[in-house]
Amino acid sequence: MIGIFGKLRSKHDRAVLLLVFWLLLALIGPLCSSYNPGAISSQPVFSGPSTAHLLGTDYLGRDTLSRLLDGIRHTVLLCFASTLLSCSIGTFMGIAAVTSKSWVEVLAGRVADGFLAIPSLLFALLVIAVFGTSTVALIMTMGVIYMSGAYRTSRALSQSVAQRDFVTMARARGEQMTYIIVQEILPNIAGPMMADIGLRFIYSVLLLSNLSFLGIGVQPPSVDLGSMVRENMLGVVYGSPAMIVPVIVIAVLTVGINVTLDSHGRKD
């Protein structure tokens, strides 16, 4: 036991532990809930906490706790996946743009700039039109929307790294592009990139709820945290936990992950 805790002192392990915690909550949490997230109880809507419903009921009289666990599952899994997608591809492309020929960089830069200038709503609608409303489409949409941002950041970060001599050396040795990107440059921008990924994760949580509002997104009776807040917004006048608790969970989830990633990215 002491060994394990001793190990956890390192920032890396703390970050991993936090991710594992949320992933476990996402995977196991819903199994522990006492109600189906779609189950409608006989309780009045927006009722307060009771023994039957620890966090009360939502706007349709469903158990808030069960829906919350379901919401955590979808938000965590979808946002993890899409952030991973957008950041890995965006980061890779950003570094690749720096290391490849100049016209590739210019072109990629223009396209990324263009994507950033197009409002994400339009983008989301396009992807719905093209890919439908499946979970895969959802992850794709969110992935594509934040890819340009990740691209920009990683390009900016890797520009100075690509000038460093160890990259020159690897090139002089005749290493493949992929090796240079993944092995030489990536580890050196991982820290600041992490902080950036953290912010992007927040945005994807918020975007998910906006997409649900538009019509794509998690399909009923499932829910994501942002949509849960949105659908129970009227509960604010009754101080309903159905609206307040998901807000707190979102804040704890995103701030926690950001703080951990920040300190992970910080050199000491």
Binding site: V236, V237, I250
Partner: protein, 318 residues
């Protein structure tokens, strides 16, 4: 110096123009790929094939897409952005007042957010890794992580409904004095400023922390320079590039990313117009709005790039 300043700026503007073309083409394509067209919004459930056909003909939607794009582009190049498919009003007339409103809101929010984020970013860079730094970081993250409609709605509920201090909706027409402006705009502007704060604070902090570790800062300290002069004269000019870039990105999202604020405060801005235009497939309106956002974005980022160039003495002299 191989590149003179006008040449650099010209290059940057050319790049911006390329992006603009990309956006215009993409937006047009996207709006046309989307299922349905403007006749849906006008006729809805009562649509009949005859009225749909007549309407499409009247709007020119029965013409081939390339022809439509070309005629739009041709007119747009000549400063004519067409008429809304929905109400026949001139797009420029429809966007004008709303753009004015949006700029007012965004401008006011920027007036708060930019100095505030500079202050927070700089101070947390100075007191890096202290308790203060952590608190600022967690607070700004917290504010951005809570959906903005929650912040806005709760603010309205508390300040307008419960305390009757401020109006729940922004009546732009009633603003004639600074007092009225503050009264009407206080909440939306504050909310908007809050949600746009995080990114600017973080970038400012990073850039500033970087600069503060430079040896000319230590040198200035050893010359007996006071903290204010140290920050303003020595550190800030060198951190300006990344900060201005972050500010530009955040400001551009102030204009287009405020749909929620507009909805909650019933504010007639351009973001709402765009959403409306997209959902009703009002192509000329969508195009014009996208153009406005894109141009804003490009102007801001290009401006930021030029400021970055100018903030370096090389750039200033060239």
């Amino acid at each position: 110096m191989k590149n003179s300043l006008p040449k650099l700026i010209g290059k940057r503007c050319l790049a911006a123009a390329t992006s603009l073309v990309f956006v215009v083409v993409t937006v047009f394509a996207v709006t046309n790929i989307l299922p349905g067209d403007a006749t849906d919004a006008l006729l809805g459930q009562n649509a009949t094939p005859q009225t749909v056909a007549a309407l499409r003909h009247g709007m020119g939607l029965d013409q081939p897409i390339f022809f439509r794009f070309w005629s739009w582009l041709w007119a747009a190049v000549h400063g004519e952005f067409g008429h809304s498919l929905l109400n026949g009003l001139s797009v420029a007339d429809a966007i004008g007042p709303r753009l004015h409103n949006s700029l007012l809101l965004a401008g006011a929010a920027a007036l708060i957010a930019v100095p505030a984020s500079l202050f927070l970013g700089i101070t947390s860079a100075i007191w890096k890794d202290t308790f203060y730094d952590r608190i600022v970081s967690i607070m700004t993250l917290g504010v951005v992580s809570v959906p903005e409609f929650v912040i806005a709605t709760i603010a309205v509920y508390v300040f307008s409904v419960r305390l009757h201090l401020l109006p729940a909706i922004v009546d732009v027409g009633s603003v004639h004095s600074l007092g009225q402006f503050l009264y009407a705009f206080f909440m939306p502007v504050t909310t908007l400023a809050l949600v746009s704060l995080a990114q600017m604070v973080r970038m400012t902090r990073a850039a500033m922390a970087d600069t503060l570790s430079a040896s000319y800062i230590e040198m200035a300290l050893l010359k007996g320079i006071g903290p204010v002069r140290l920050i303003l004269v020595h550190a800030l000019p060198n951190a300006l590039g990344p900060i201005v870039n972050a500010v530009a990105l955040s400001l551009s999202s102030l204009l287009g990313g405020v749909v929620v604020i507009e909805v909650v405060f019933t504010y007639p801005g351009i973001a709402g117009l765009m959403v409306d235009a997209v959902s009703s497939r009002d192509v000329p309106m969508v195009q014009a709005c996208a153009l406005v956002f894109c141009v804003t974005y490009l102007i801001l980022t290009t401006f930021a790039d030029i400021v970055t160039i100018l903030s370096l003495p090389r750039g200033r002299k060239a």
